[in-house]
Point group: C2
Chain length 392, copies 2
């Protein structure tokens, strides 16, 4: 594969390696990514359920193409910017899985008019009426998923709230389209045993299957029954009645997922390359140029059994140092230290040497960067670079 | 002032108001910003010390021009990307205030060759030798500040470590240039009484004044003696021996600074505009499209007396609701609730209505956005838009 050369300001030569990159920057191990994608795809194939990957983690057309089951989708997005960017790259089947603000329906209608089957999400009668109204204005039926609250963690109608469900469905079908029901087991991020993760998955499944049955009984059929979270996607044992699974972070994985036991540390495909810029030897600190601007402020492992600080430190090959973490971070400074309570020895790293830092939360860390520098396994060669986008 | 129209994809009309913006987005109250800038400038003018504003908070040429005392600087930057962007806009006097990685010296030399007085920062003999070596290669003397550790919070040489200081100074002056000494009272962010803040400022001052004296006595003169942090800049009572003050967040202020008593809530110039997208009424939650992607993961007030969650909620005019905060956030969802322990009532906000959220940490929140939408005071009119940049 040839090196992307779309960035005229780049100093990266065709034969660039990790040693040539400006730091801090984002490194993606495509071998690990491919393995992660294959793992979830194989699992869902065996269960006969389709995968609608959430592209909010990657926000990259090149990653999306490797994660989706076809160049046209299906896919899930978290912003209309993602929908527009992926539509421009040929994706034709997307659910925008954040509750729709009525003012955004004009952009939705425009995307649909361009041939994209973009579906919105909602959980109130007011939104359903706005969708019906926007559909009338646009002279088309805008499809929507009703969001179901399976565990009380965020948005959605409870499946037990039958009257509310049916009222939303009726308001929607006046001039819009009821495409289906959707839920997200956000509580599964609290983890627990394999049994607990299976229970989260079953709770998630039952919530949407029940909701679809209620709507169906009211003459409001639900063709799409959608569940999704990386922990439940990897632990569901029964997906009867479910038509698709959404998941996002499974592509890269991260320390939060490893802490939950959903992956191993060496499945984590994303890291931040940083350079040593100093030491405070009496304190046992190594200072790097990888601060929170490159790692993100996410401290997701802070509530887990093993707190990884702002990230777990690896050598340039990607092999973790035993018990060495980014213990604190300023905007452009990272402080590397031995994990509290450990007897590990700080590695002997001189000013100018490089490390790779595994992120707490792939979605948050990737969002701090504009480019994936793609390597494979322990190779230092930058095989290619993929652009990512942000914004709304 | 006319509306910037450089973005061809924009849907923003010439007469745009807060109601027309796509949400979430970043709003900057230029009246508050101007007042904040004037406040610190007047203070330092009265003390006879120059201001070298840290542009890492704003990362915007338009903001920089309103903060710097001249279009050419002086200024402080946290990345070479900032140095390059501001150099392209005419800034000629900058300190890159993060310890230099030797591999970055080539970019530094190139910027200097283009006529920019870019000064690097270091705290090891190894870096000083790298600067001398890069100076020899470039046929010029690259100037450097020696970073002094005034409070043990991060990088720097202790002023008491005289031998180390002099060794660094000598290594540097071999072929480079010793421009001065620099420190940052990071511990001042822990706050306390006015007396405590004054003590942080005095500790900061003494550290660099002592270091400069030691170097001077060794025949290594230090023309620049630089201190800086927003809390100490606003509380120093004596700046004898100091030639300049660096500070960054004073331009916008934020909830962390308000929590420390450095500013009032209504001095905070930055907010995130978000739209209501749902409710969980039994729980007392209002859901918005302002999640952590737009607010950042920064929870800086979590350690303060008043925990502001992911931000303090205001109406569209910018007036805070009493005790209403963003209590939790997902990537593109914010959960608004009454502050724990308060008897306040949740405001009656319908789906589609808008709120403005004051950030914990202006540097982190601004970094999640590409554009400042500029308003003045309680006006809803978007006076102009200013682009910001990220990356390294």
């Amino acid at each position: 594969m040839v090196l992307a050369t779309t960035d005229p300001t780049s100093r990266l030569a065709a034969s660039a390696s990790l040693e040539d990159l400006e730091t801090p920057c984002l490194v993606l191990d495509a071998d690990r990514m491919d393995r992660n994608v294959l793992r979830l795809r194989s699992r869902l194939d065996a269960m006969g359920v389709s995968l609608r990957p959430h592209l909010k983690t990657a926000k990259s057309i090149e990653v999306a193409r490797r994660v989706m089951t076809s160049p046209e989708g299906p896919a899930t997005v978290s912003t209309l910017k993602e929908a527009e960017q992926f539509a421009a790259a040929g994706v034709r089947d997307m659910i925008y899985a954040v509750g729709i603000a009525p003012a955004k329906l004009e952009r939705v209608a425009e995307l649909r008019a361009s041939g994209v089957d973009l579906v919105v999400t909602l959980d109130t009668v007011q939104q359903a009426r706005a969708v019906a109204e926007a559909s009338r204005r646009a002279g088309t039926r805008i499809p929507a998923m009703i969001e179901i609250d399976c565990d009380g963690h965020r948005s959605g109608v409870r499946a037990t709230d039958q009257a509310q469900l049916v009222e939303i469905g009726r308001a929607l079908t006046a001039d819009g389209e009821l495409r289906g029901v959707l839920t997200h087991a956000g509580d599964s991020y609290n983890g627990g045993s394999i049994e607990a993760l299976r229970r989260y998955a079953e709770t998630e499944r039952l919530a949407v299957v029940d909701a679809a049955r209620i709507l169906d009984a009211a003459g409001l059929p639900c063709p799409v029954v959608s569940v999704g979270s990386t922990p439940t996607a990897h632990h569901a044992t029964d997906l009867a009645g479910v038509t698709e699974v959404r998941a996002g972070v499974f592509v890269f994985f991260d320390l939060v997922m490893a802490g939950l036991g959903i992956c191993q540390i060496d499945d984590i495909a994303l890291s931040v390359l940083a350079t040593i810029i100093g030491h405070q030897r009496e304190k046992g600190w190594i200072i790097t140029d990888g601060g929170w601007m490159s790692l993100s402020r996410d401290r997701g492992t802070g509530k887990q059994a093993v707190d990884q600080g702002y990230g777990l430190v690896c050598d340039v090959d990607g092999t973790p140092y035993h018990d060495i973490i980014v213990s604190d971070a300023n905007q452009e400074h990272g402080i590397i230290a031995v994990r509290p309570g450990s007897n590990a020895r700080l590695p002997d790293l001189a000013v100018g040497e490089r490390v790779r830092i595994l992120p707490n939360h792939a979605c948050a860390t990737a969002a701090q960067h504009e480019t994936y520098h793609v390597v494979r396994g322990r190779s230092h060669v930058i095989e290619t670079r993929w652009t990512r986008f942000g914004g709304w």
